[in-house]
Subunit: 327 residues, 4 copies
């Protein structure tokens, strides 16, 4: 049985070391891949494509973001449209829905010059309904769109240990999988277009609920006189068990190698979790789904963002709830 | 590694079959055990003591509850005080805090006639602060009190598969453990008096949060077009994983042998969960602990109790949240 | 001082009686007004314009909706674009954001044929950001856009007792006010474009919170043995006072002439409140505003919609929370 | 019509000036009143009794608290029992339930020496069920117990402007009312014993919900571009209106003379509100009442207590939710 995948797991503290030793031959034998969006996540992902012998044709709104990749051999273009003209497989990795809409359907967007049959893979985390819109727009131009959001953070991106949750036509899945395996360790096919995004939002919503619940429970138990390590052990052998209690415990001193052991540095930031919960809330509102705990989790991370926890790992909710009242 | 303990797991649907074949000799060699409270849980627990060769001296406010046990050889007394006069180890299994107070400190209570050095074990689920009060009152009379709430339900009680969470003096633990192992499969020492109750409340609060969270998440995913089995699989290999998603999934059709596969019959009733969450809320209020999700979980199970879900398994929250809006 | 305005107040139970006695002369002297969207709200609003002597040029996606108005003298067109060609003041009254986008910017939308200087007033309840987008698009065509959502329900629409909350350029406000006063009793200028929508969403969010809070409080008080009328009186002379406690009490028997006195018929439906709270939630998420109680109120009305309360007045939350638990 | 009573209103900033000019004659003609608990609230209340000519017989666990009252002519006793021996009307004003239990039923408590027919009035804010217990215990000794919690704060106590919410036998109400009118401006009879407490908890729970709701709404509106004063005006003429929006607005700059205009100094502290909400939660749990918003309000004030808001006015929840996220 495969080891459990850690979505949005703790960030690595050591700098990623990637040995780029590419045989010119292998590069020549592979068709180029377009890559749009060279931020914290996109840049190491693109590097891993290069490392695996794919010629990369890249662009970013900030030209300086392309420099490092250019030195590694990537061809840099001025716009998404220009990338689309040259590559028949393109990956996009962008911060949010409006950027995705612009990169695909804007005046210099991919769809202005996309070739028929091109495979478009969006790895951004966005609203599933936007993914569906992009798929419809792509199809009109004869291209194929897949959503493939990732989890695992910057460290996992560098070490090609990401998990891809993929939505799209099953018959196109294999063509994309070849690329995913260069950048990640796990690939999960989730169904039709948009279901990659849906799966990621669902997972992260339940993760947030489990984390806050674990933080509340551990805090309550400690105040009732229980030893935190013992309480964690009891929960983990019982029905209270969850990933946040057994693999990412938010209480300092209970586990090693997790953000709570490192003053909540690294890991998955509260701001990112608040963004994901906002997307989950939007999809729930649009589908008239009741998510009472998910909504409250969203509000709690929202408040935390404005009270100094924006850049701490999301397990810092324990610290947020923990402090003793002033007497 | 031991299999995970399922606290408050699904009830068994088949009637428990216990072969009572007790050697008279072994009975003679063991000192009698008092047992007060012969309800749905207490009765099979007491039977398991008899089965293991312990002479049982029992009582209950409803005399008819004692009949079956009497036929198996138990001696039936009129009051807790009378039991205390005859046994130096006594187990109590009662519905709630007021009953415990009455049975220990009432006019015909245990403490009226308890012998010095008697071991008193309360397996009821009550407020940890009441457990501490009982311990203080018992100590005044020279007796030793332990709290040892159980999980596992009626089926586990019948099959001696309960889990005991025990609070009390560590040096007295062994004397009690001998009895626990006749009635249960797992015994967890949690610390000072009251910590058995604390551990149980903590676990069940996190369990309730995880269950509602799982129900919300599965419902949202389904509305977003995900296949429920696939979504459960993705969550369970990811950071959204929890006991409610991987061992007790609330969505019909995802797992077999759980209440959701049986129209939410059996298992752990919504009323019981609401009671536990009320106790957790009380302890949180008293210790000024913030439990935002735990509080909301309490309110949700409270509403469910009044809307026809009182006697369904607590995983029926999926059904409660699921229904489509009338158009 | 003016009497308090009741936003989304109780619906009238009697059919509205409007005496349409229009002088042909006054009609001739006024410039025509376009009206798009002749549903439950739009139809009586347009009638009131006719009653006040304005020639009306109307359209609706359902041609049969136009019949009654046509008999009263309105000119019916095929599309919003056609209306725009003929009228230089146009009011739109549509169910939700996508309809507004279609009617303004669609292939047969207003903006296809709008004349320079036309005043466009949207009285739909939609996302403030969509209102702003429509304003930008209108401005590009040389037209002026205002948002002017209403409150008061179908009864108030019929009796020209609506309240308009208006966002847009202050210098254009007077030209619009002339029309509002034909259809409503109160007009509130709220600021720049979008602020009419913002004000409405803010009011209705606080209204929902106050209503659920009143329902919880009254229920708790009743269970503690207080007489509901006396409790309402105490709250209303104290700091717990709110519109839901003193003008629209949700407990049957406390007030007359409100939906709670009529089995929660009439008034403002739970579905509509859930829609408004969804919009409020969206704007809060987009502006990163924390609305813990507003979010929970949204979820509660969402659950109610799927449990048989969709068409009852939103004060039926008292009934939803009230029921005694099964014993 | 009487002016609305402000329960727990803003504290006065000026020191209270009480002219104590007591005619010896009037004092002689009135029977003495016992007063137990001379804290921030009790002390000015007892002074107002003296001012109105009542001989006061007082005690407090901290003897130094009695000094000032002694100088004004009060007779100071060693214990509640001693007070009970001398007075046939006794008022108690204590911090919380355990103190009340001790003062009434403890070894030196009132009930040890209470005379038959004595009127006992408890003005503490406690659990209604404890009030009922005290009533039962008092009745056993032939005394009459009433609960009469107050609202209005220290300033109102000094100026005899408190509101009393009274529970107890209606036929005893007049004997007590004579005393209440010396210390307060409003007296509300709420029903049987415990209903004074019930009414106070209900009011304060709805007050807390309204305050947080107002804070969320004002914050959301401001972020949407609305002017806070204008938004408050719109809400106050509409159905969002509540005491917190129209009489105690939490947004600095909207109103004068309220804590939000004075950096949230004075008024009703967050800690006190959290205590009241804890009591409300307990009574709700005990009566199996669903209070979703009340529960969440409790949790929010609980978190605020531990994050530096303990001693600020409870309207500071606006500030707590307001802060912009770090970018």
């Amino acid at each position: 049985a495969a080891a459990p995948v850690m979505l949005e797991g703790p960030g690595e503290t050591e700098p990623p070391r990637i040995n780029i030793s590419i045989s010119k031959r292998s590069m020549a034998s592979k068709t180029p891949v377009g890559f749009i969006g060279l931020g914290n996540m996109g840049s190491p992902m693109a590097k891993n494509l290069i490392k695996n012998g794919y010629p990369v044709i890249a662009t970013d709104v900030f030209p300086e973001s392309c420099k490092e990749l250019q030195e590694l051999g990537a061809q840099v273009m001025d716009s998404p449209a220009d990338v689309a003209e040259k590559a028949d497989r393109i990956i996009t990795m962008l911060p949010s829905s409006p950027n995705v809409i612009e990169v695909y359907t804007g005046p210099n967007g991919i769809l202005k010059k996309v070739k028929k049959g091109t495979l478009l893979v969006d790895s951004s985390t966005i609203d599933p309904s936007v993914a569906k819109e992009m798929a419809v727009a792509s199809e009109k131009m004869g291209a194929v769109f897949m959503d493939a959001p990732v989890s695992g953070g910057v460290g996992a991106a560098s070490m090609a240990k990401l998990t891809f949750m993929v939505g799209g036509l099953e018959e196109e899945f294999q063509a994309a999988e070849e690329l995913f395996t260069c950048m990640g360790a796990n690939v999960v096919y989730c169904g039709q277009v948009g279901s990659g995004q849906a799966a990621k939002l669902c997972n992260n919503m339940l993760l947030a609920i489990g984390m806050i619940g674990t933080a509340e429970t551990m805090n309550l138990g400690i105040r009732l006189g229980l030893d935190p390590k013992l309480l964690a052990k009891i929960l983990n052998m019982s029905s209270g068990r969850c990933w946040s209690s057994d693999s990412y415990n938010p209480v300092p001193g209970v586990m090693e190698g997790v953000p709570s052991a490192n003053n909540y540095q690294g890991g998955y930031g509260t701001t990112l979790m608040a963004k994901d919960l906002g997307l989950a809330q939007n999809t729930a509102t649009n589908t008239k789904s009741s998510i009472p705990l998910g909504s409250l989790a969203h509000q709690i991370y929202r408040v935390m963002c404005s009270r100094g926890y924006a850049n701490k790992d999301f397990s810092s909710v324990f610290q947020f709830l923990r402090e003793e009242e002033a007497q």
